[in-house]
């Protein structure tokens, strides 16, 4: 195919020749593609932009508006791009142009480009392949092996690197900032990798390393990742009223530094970069010779640029320079400060200036503001004499104030000396009229120069003369001893005033006057310390012409006490006293003096603690027993050890494990305490008594005294007698009550028994109801096994229901022989069935007798033996059989007759002694002997032993109704007589109440 190539030099060819060529070319192409009308693009040219990785492709002809464009990696013939594009056309030259941006750097590998025209579905032939030679070409002489080199990219961007290895090398890995990346092979020697979303790099950039297996070789590139500039706060001002100084903040860190990548600044197109390269500075400035009124700041780097503008009149942006050459002329109390201005133009400028004065003594800062046109000097008053000062000044425009200018350099000066202040003098007197005139040391501020001495005069106001030559004291001495007795001698008992003056190089101070007069002490009420100190209040005293003095000191200081005081002006009526020397637990005396020209007068006095503590020492305690009382005595705590106002004493008693408060003695003057009747109730024992003094802060540790209590028998006797008396009284009351209420008692306890209703001729005569003992209720009398005691046994037969005669039927004949002594009385014992305490009734009986723990109740009067169960000896009882009443009869008219042999009292509550079992005959012959030695209260026995008397008032077991207390079968005849008479009386009483 015929082909003509065009070169840029064709422009030099005459237009006629060009037309000829176009005609020939058009003929040729129309001849080639006469059927489609599309021609093959000619003169394809590739123009790479290596930095932007853009490949500009241009060509001529084609006869279409759209073209198909294919880009391949030459070596592997891989398609990189294949699309239909619409290129721009240069209407003059007819040159088509289209730009392709490559992901990979164009140097990485060779690229081949072909183009063909497209019109709908019709295409031309492909153009001749045009190749952009990459650096992996064998003929390439490029030394650089990794692309792109030293690129600058914004944060968040992506970048693709490629590495071209030397011939024969094998790639090991690619690493971006130490991290291995994934690799794509582009050609035989070229490998690429892409890093996404780049982060800001460090100052020296991020490294891309290409590491072949041959460790000797190493290739790489550096990439800088950062931000475009973003300056802030752009403002312009003037210092000299002519030029403009523009300032701005550099804003965020661009991460791009140095002359090549750092941000460049331009103000109104003037390059201000050089003076703003220091990355440490957050602020940037640029000076313009004239005030232009409008300014534009442009900040730019390789990633972009940013603009800020400012507009202002000169008079609104005046920021004066720092005053220069400060000079001070100082006096004792003031100084003149002057300075110079760098610019003469300030002479007409209304200025406001701030002067900052710092005293070297206490570094206290004094700020003062002055103003004036062209201000260049100020007068500084209220300074202290003999004081070092440093001063600095800054100014601003008084009108349209913009901002303060810079501070001047510090200037130092010293004020002159001056006579000292009057010393603050006072007097302290001991009780013996000796004392000292004291004064507070003058501070540096009060001295007004170095003190040389103090002078003290004793002066007689009446005579207006000095009583003695002046006493000169060194400046570190602040007291002078005085003796009022001696002074009175010199002054003819007139008043004396001590005058104290201080002296320095500038002269003597005015004298301080102190009246040397003693004062009478006053009562001192207590005062409570508060957060603000001791609050003192008083009424104004007309005599206090020169004010008041409040003095305070340790209340227990005996001699030459360190006294503190404060002077108050006349008219003052309250003050709060606070001192750094106040200590907790120390009592302070506070005295208020009036000050007059004649004398000092003590007006008021207080006492108080800043903080009360518990007493620091324990009491001296002694204890003794006085009969039943315990007497505790102690000694007073010394005042200095009290450490608070003593409120009283707490007295404790400790008994091993208990610590009990016995008494609170709220009178601190009380020095003794008697524990009344403490020894009562204790046979013998050791007891500890602790006495603790207490203040508002609490108790001290206390002192303990031990008392051993001796037996106190009198009390026991008294207790017994009292108890007996009470019992007697109770009995009397009961008896009296019963007598008074006998009708009610009769009705309640002995109601009338209704007459039986008999169908026949049952005798209707009233009389005692004779009952016969029920055979089944017999009580077995103790007998020995060897002896058939049944015959000797007495059986008490309680009352039974009338229809319960089964058991007694067989013995009816015997019953008839029974004496009439078993007379029935309406029994008022508990009608509840007598239940054994244990399931076994016999055991219950035994336990009720043998147990020392028995519930007891007084049942009143019991005259029937129907419910009585006599507890026999267990052995004997086991031998018991049906009683033979004939044997009972043999005992005579008394029927059952209990054994009445006397016994020792110790046996009363015990089981029978073994001897009793060894002598069965004797036992049997003695008749029945109940275990409990209680009398069988059958009517017969009652008659023999005084009837009911033994049962009266005796406790009975709730389980057995048997009287538990031994009645005293062995009682003396007298006692028995008493009981008998009482029982008779009660019987008569009750009988008399029967209807």
């Amino acid at each position: 195919m015929a082909h003509l190539s065009l070169t840029p030099t064709s422009k030099l060819i005459s237009s006629g020749f060009v037309w000829l060529l176009w005609i020939v070319l058009g003929f040729s192409t129309s001849h080639t593609h006469a059927d489609t009308g599309l021609t093959v693009p000619q003169r394809v040219t590739l123009s790479p932009n290596w930095y932007t990785q853009e490949l500009s492709i241009s060509w001529l002809g084609g006869g279409a508006t759209t073209f198909e464009l294919i880009i391949l990696r030459t070596e592997f013939n891989e398609t990189v791009f294949y699309e239909t594009v619409s290129p721009t056309v240069n209407k003059v030259s007819g040159l088509h142009q289209w730009t392709w941006t490559s992901v990979n750097p164009l140097e990485c590998t060779s690229l081949s480009v072909k183009i063909r025209s497209r019109d709908g579905h019709t295409t031309s032939e492909w153009s001749q392949t045009e190749t952009l030679q990459g650096n992996d070409h064998p003929n390439s002489e490029q030394r650089v092996k990794v692309f792109p080199q030293d690129k600058v990219l914004p944060v968040g961007a992506n970048i693709t690197f490629c590495c071209i290895l030397d011939e024969g090398l094998v790639l090991d890995k690619l690493k971006y900032d130490g991290n291995t990346t994934s690799v794509t092979r582009l050609s035989r020697r070229t490998y690429s990798t892409t890093v996404f979303n780049l982060v800001a790099s460090r100052q020296s950039g991020s490294n891309m390393l290409c590491l072949p297996e041959d460790k000797e070789k190493l290739y790489g590139a550096v990439v800088f990742v950062g931000y475009p500039p973003l300056p802030i706060d752009f403002k312009c001002e003037t210092h000299d009223l002519r030029s403009a100084v523009c300032q701005w903040g550099k804003g965020r860190d661009t991460h791009l530094y140095g002359s090549q990548r750092g941000t460049r600044y331009f103000v109104n197109n003037r390059d201000c970069s050089e003076v703003n390269q220091d990355v440490g500075q957050k602020e940037a400035t640029c000076t313009l010779d004239t005030w232009e009124g409008n300014w534009t700041l442009v900040a730019k780097n390789l990633l972009g640029q940013y603009s800020l503008t400012d507009t202002a009149e000169l008079s609104h942006r005046v920021c004066p320079v720092a005053p220069d050459l400060l000079s001070v002329v100082a006096d004792a109390w003031n100084a003149s400060l002057s300075w110079h201005w760098k610019y003469d133009s300030y002479s007409s400028l209304a200025l406001v200036c701030q002067v900052e004065i710092t005293a070297t003594e206490d570094e206290k800062l004094i700020k003062r503001v002055f103003s004036g046109v062209g201000l260049r000097s100020v007068f500084l008053s209220d300074l202290y004499p003999d004081e070092h000062y440093s001063v600095k000044v800054r100014c601003g425009a008084q009108q349209n104030f913009w901002k303060w200018g810079n501070w001047s350099k510090l200037s130092s000066f010293k004020t002159k000396t001056y006579v000292p202040d009057t010393p603050d003098a006072w007097i302290w007197l001991n009780t013996d009229n000796t004392g000292k005139v004291i004064w507070k040391p003058l501070t540096r501020r009060q001295s007004h120069g170095k003190l040389t001495q103090y002078e003290v005069f004793l002066w007689s106001p009446e005579e207006n003369r000095a009583l003695a030559p002046a006493v000169t004291l060194p400046p570190n001495n602040w007291s002078m001893p005085v003796n009022l007795t001696e002074i009175a001698f010199f002054s003819n008992n007139g008043s004396v005033v001590a005058k104290v003056t201080a002296r320095n190089d500038a002269g003597s101070s005015p004298p301080a006057r102190v009246h040397l007069t003693s004062v009478e002490p006053l009562a001192a009420p207590r005062i409570v310390y508060t957060d603000q100190g001791f609050p003192l209040f008083w009424e104004n005293n007309a005599n206090a012409t020169c004010g008041y003095v409040v003095e305070w000191l340790d209340a227990f200081c005996p001699q030459d006490c360190p006294v503190e005081w404060i002077k108050l002006p006349a008219g003052t009526t309250n003050v709060s006293i606070e001192s750094a020397t106040f200590q907790p637990g120390v009592r302070y005396n506070l005295s208020l003096y009036s000050c007059s020209s004649d004398a000092r007068e003590l007006l008021k006095r207080w006492q108080g603690y800043t903080q009360e503590l518990v007493p620091s020492v324990a009491l001296t305690l002694s204890a003794s027993q006085q009969n039943a009382d315990i007497l505790l005595t102690w000694k007073e705590i010394p005042l200095v050890n009290r450490r608070g106002f003593l409120l009283g004493y707490n007295i404790y008693n400790s008994t091993g494990y208990q610590f009990k408060l016995l008494e609170n003695v709220s009178d601190p003057e009380t020095m003794s305490y008697t524990a009344k009747d403490f020894a009562k109730g204790f046979i013998k024992g050791t007891f500890k008594f602790t006495v603790k003094a207490y203040t508002a802060a609490g108790e001290n540790t206390g002192t303990t005294a031990t008392v051993t209590i001796e037996p106190y028998t009198d009390w026991l006797i008294l207790e017994i007698l009292t108890s007996l008396g009470l019992v007697t009284l109770l009995l009397a009351i009961v008896t009296f009550t019963c007598y008074k209420k006998r009708k009610w008692v009769k009705k309640a306890f002995y109601p009338d028994i209704p007459e039986p209703k008999l169908p026949s001729d049952w005798p209707r005569t009233r009389g005692p109801l004779d009952v016969k003992p029920s055979p089944h209720s017999m009580v077995c009398v103790v007998e020995t096994p060897e002896y058939d005691c049944i015959k000797d046994m007495l059986v008490a037969i309680p009352e039974e229901d009338e229809d319960d005669a089964g058991q007694g039927i067989g013995d009816e004949s015997v019953d008839t022989d029974e004496p009439t002594s078993l007379r029935y009385y309406n029994q008022m014992v508990d009608e509840r069935p007598i239940r054994p305490r244990f399931p076994d009734s016999s055991a219950s009986s035994i336990s009720s007798m043998s147990s020392a723990h028995t519930d007891v109740t007084y049942t009143g009067i019991q005259t029937s033996g129907s419910s009585l169960v006599l507890q026999l000896d267990p052995q004997g009882s086991s031998e018991c059989h049906q009683p033979q009443l004939d044997r009972l009869v043999s005992y005579g008219g008394g029927g059952y007759r209990p054994q009445m042999q006397p016994r020792a009292p110790s046996d009363d509550m015990d089981l029978p002694s073994p001897e009793s079992f060894l002598e069965p005959q004797a036992a049997c012959s003695g008749g029945y002997k109940p275990q409990g030695s209680w009398q069988l209260d059958s009517p017969v026995d009652a008659a023999e032993m005084g009837s009911l008397a033994p049962s009266l008032g005796s406790p009975t077991s709730v389980a057995s109704t048997q009287f538990l207390l031994p009645d005293g079968e062995e009682n003396t005849g007298e006692k028995r007589q008493l009981s008998s008479s009482a029982a008779s009386w009660l019987t008569n009483l009750l009988s008399s109440t029967k209807p």
Partner: protein, 200 residues
């Protein structure tokens, strides 16, 4: 050798410790330079020992070398190191600097300031050994080829640091092996020494 006199450096007792003092200085420089290398490696994420190419050229070590030759050798190497280091610091600051100065920059400054002190010490020892100053090595003609690419520049700076590190250690070892009293061994010409052009 006839007519050769022996003396200690400066002829005083204190001179006897000059090699030891120089060795201590070399030890200190070696320590500082090791730290600098570590800081640089960490800063640039150079995890591998990226390069071991030598930049300093001196005669190879040999058991035949006498005290003067040993001193001359380390003195010459240190002089080359100094020139390389100054160039490296200047180029690094120009191409990669401009930011805030940190630990690395401070350490770099320290090494740069301490190296001349060691050179001064070895120079004094060499003078004492030679008896004249005319035979001290010079680096006036030494050409320093600085790479153009930034990564190549970094690698080159790294190599320079490694050279300083290596030669400060070598100097310390050599100086410790030297006798405490340096003996003047007579004049020798630099030309003879320069004939040993073999690279180590």
């Amino acid at each position: 050798m006839a007519g050769r006199s022996t003396r200690g450096i400066n002829g005083s007792n204190g001179s006897r410790t000059a090699p030891a003092r120089a060795a201590a200085l070399a030890d200190l420089l070696h320590y500082e330079c090791s730290t600098l290398l570590e800081l640089f490696r960490k800063k640039e994420n150079f995890t591998e020992d990226v390069t071991d190419r030598r930049l300093v050229s001196v005669p190879p070590p040999s058991s035949q070398l006498d005290t003067r030759d040993k001193l001359w050798r380390i003195h010459s190497a240190l002089l080359q190191c100094q020139k390389l280091l100054e160039k490296a610091v200047a180029k690094e600051e120009e191409e990669l600097g401009g930011g805030k100065k940190g630990k690395y920059e401070n350490k770099r400054k320290l090494v740069k300031e301490r190296l001349p002190l060691l050179i001064l010490s070895t120079g004094e020892l060499l003078k004492a050994a030679e008896g004249t100053t005319s035979l001290t090595p010079s680096v006036e003609g030494l050409e320093v080829n600085v790479p153009t690419g930034l990564l190549d520049l970094k690698l080159w700076v790294y190599r320079v640091y490694k050279e300083v590190n290596y030669w400060s250690k070598t100097a310390a070892n050599t100086l410790k092996e030297l006798p405490s009293v340096i003996v003047k061994e007579g004049a020798r010409t630099t030309r003879a020494r320069n004939r040993r052009s073999t690279r180590r």
